[in-house]
């Protein structure tokens, strides 16, 4: 069973096509890098696949659940949205406990999972502190922990390293690797940073102006345009159609 299957997915906002006839698949345990310049349609693609937006055309399934069952689909996925907000007055522990309860876990089980996840993302010592006192990196790690409370089969991370210092970025990418390795979850990592994709992802999907320009392993994509590095391939693909 494929983890993600999208066929002819499109999203139109009045006269603007944000995602245009997108088709791709991702296998279980795969770390898929979603690459593209600003406005390429990365966030819209993630919002479509996580049922926050309704597609204008096309179909998809995630973790074997079709788009027609959004409640069941959301039960199987974890998402770290781009520029996610956090309730500053809650503690990290309360926040995770609340989200675990929203996924239907009993109180004791939710508490155990919250403690485990706080430990895994290195926030155990600050679990009882208000989120308002967390740094950006700590909030991002809390966001990842929240995305894992339901033990998802597919995890979507939208720009998880945005605004983090180099140490924070390294820590975040290590977490991404652990999610795929230990949990055998499929990870969709949306980012601008090509170095992140090269270090963390097994496959890549390059988008520009809503269209898929290339998909496959990093070696395949690089080779397909006669480049030596992913960055060269990315520039060759995304700047080809520009004036």
């Amino acid at each position: 069973m494929v983890a993600i299957e999208a066929a002819g997915l499109s999203k139109r906002y009045r006269d603007r096509l944000a995602v245009d006839d997108l088709s791709f698949t991702a296998e279980p345990g795969e770390v898929l890098g979603l690459l593209g310049p600003n406005g390429a349609g990365k966030t819209t693609t993630i919002r479509l696949l996580t049922t926050l937006l309704r597609p204008s055309a096309g179909t998809f399934s995630v973790a074997g659940v079709p788009a027609s069952e959004p409640g069941r689909l959301r039960q199987r996925i974890g998402v770290l949205p781009e520029s996610a907000g956090y309730p500053g007055q809650q503690t990290g522990r309360e926040y995770l406990l609340y989200h675990a309860r929203l996924f239907g876990l009993p109180r004791t089980e939710a508490r155990r999972i919250a403690e485990d996840l706080l430990d895994q993302v290195g926030l155990a010592e600050r679990a009882g502190s208000r989120i308002a006192t967390y740094s950006r990196g700590m909030r991002q790690r809390l966001g990842i922990a929240r995305a894992l409370v339901n033990d998802p089969a597919v995890v979507f991370l939208d720009e998880p390293t945005l605004g983090l210092d180099p140490a924070g970025q390294r820590q975040m990418l290590a977490l991404v690797g652990e999610i795929a390795l230990r949990r055998r979850a499929t990870v969709v990592l949306s980012t601008h940073a090509l170095a992140e994709v090269e270090s963390a992802c097994s496959t890549v999907l390059i988008l520009d102006r809503g269209r898929a320009l290339a998909a496959g392993t990093i070696a395949d994509v690089t080779r397909s345009v006669g480049a030596h590095r992913l960055s060269e391939a990315f520039l060759a693909l995304t700047e080809a159609g520009r004036p």
């Binding site: 919002r47 926050l52 959301r74 998402v79 907000g85 309360e94 239907g104």
Partner: protein, 255 residues
């Protein structure tokens, strides 16, 4: 456990432990204290018959209690959009209807607190008359009916607004527009005036209170005036039951 209960519990914690609830209730009690003090001691106001003093305090308690509740409801969805916390909630499998219900229930705890806080003031003004029991029942039933309906309206406005400022401004304008006719003397004397009162859930609720408290009508005599607040509750509930998935979304726009 029903998931709306999980949402409601967390929202109640945020409202009361976050400080917004206690602040609003404190402001409410300060206002009611001033009202009661003036009713009991001011030379102009203390010529009011005891029934009139209780009725006045009751009407102010309902109007201000509903105002406080609407302020919280107006923030419930648009505020989360603005703070970027709604997305995480929408990514859970909790049905949108349950999110709306949880938020409505938590907001109404503020109304419940306002009712409780009103009790000592009503007691001070009406303790030696039979009107006290009537006032308590009226605020608990008629006041709650009006509060649920208008809180639903504010929640609806919040769901339809991208900006928290817009949501708050529209909700307060709605309340003001509904409250203004209650201050006009002799509104229901002509058929047009009576119609305007009857279609206004706040004015008709207030009219029903006055009819019982001041004109000593029976409970049944003016019951038809409660149709408008009851219909407001029914209408907002129906809108949320039917359209919650389309209303509670990441953006107000057609995305």
């Amino acid at each position: 456990m029903n998931r709306w209960v999980v949402v409601a519990r967390q929202e109640i914690r945020d409202l009361w432990l976050g400080g917004r609830g206690p602040t609003l209730v404190f402001a409410f009690s300060v206002l009611l204290s001033a009202m009661t003090y003036l009713s009991a001691t001011n030379r102009g106001l203390n010529f009011l018959e005891q029934r009139e003093a209780v009725n006045l305090t009751l009407q102010v308690a309902i109007a201000v209690g509903v105002l406080a509740t609407m302020v919280v409801a107006a923030d419930a969805i648009s505020g989360e959009r603005e703070r970027h916390t709604l997305e995480a909630l929408l990514l859970t499998p909790v049905p949108r209807r349950d999110i709306a219900l949880g938020k409505l229930v938590s907001t109404l705890t503020l109304w419940a607190a306002c009712v409780v806080v009103s009790m000592p003031y009503l007691w001070v003004l009406g303790r030696s008359t039979a009107v006290l029991g009537q006032a308590v029942v009226l605020i608990a039933l008629v006041g709650t009916l009006v509060a649920v309906g208008l809180t639903g309206v504010a929640l609806l406005v919040s769901a339809l607004s991208d900006s928290n400022k817009t949501s708050l401004a529209v909700s307060l304008f709605v309340l003001l527009a509904l409250f203004a006719p209650t201050q006009l003397p002799g509104m229901p004397k002509s058929w047009v005036g009576d119609l305007l009162v009857r279609v206004n859930p706040l004015a008709s609720g207030m009219h029903y209170l006055s009819a019982l408290m001041l004109n000593r009508h029976t409970w049944r005599q003016d019951l038809s005036y409660l149709l408008s607040p009851a219909l407001t509750v029914l209408l907002t509930t129906t809108v949320f039951v039917i359209a919650a998935p389309r209303l509670i979304r990441l953006t107000r726009a057609t995305s």
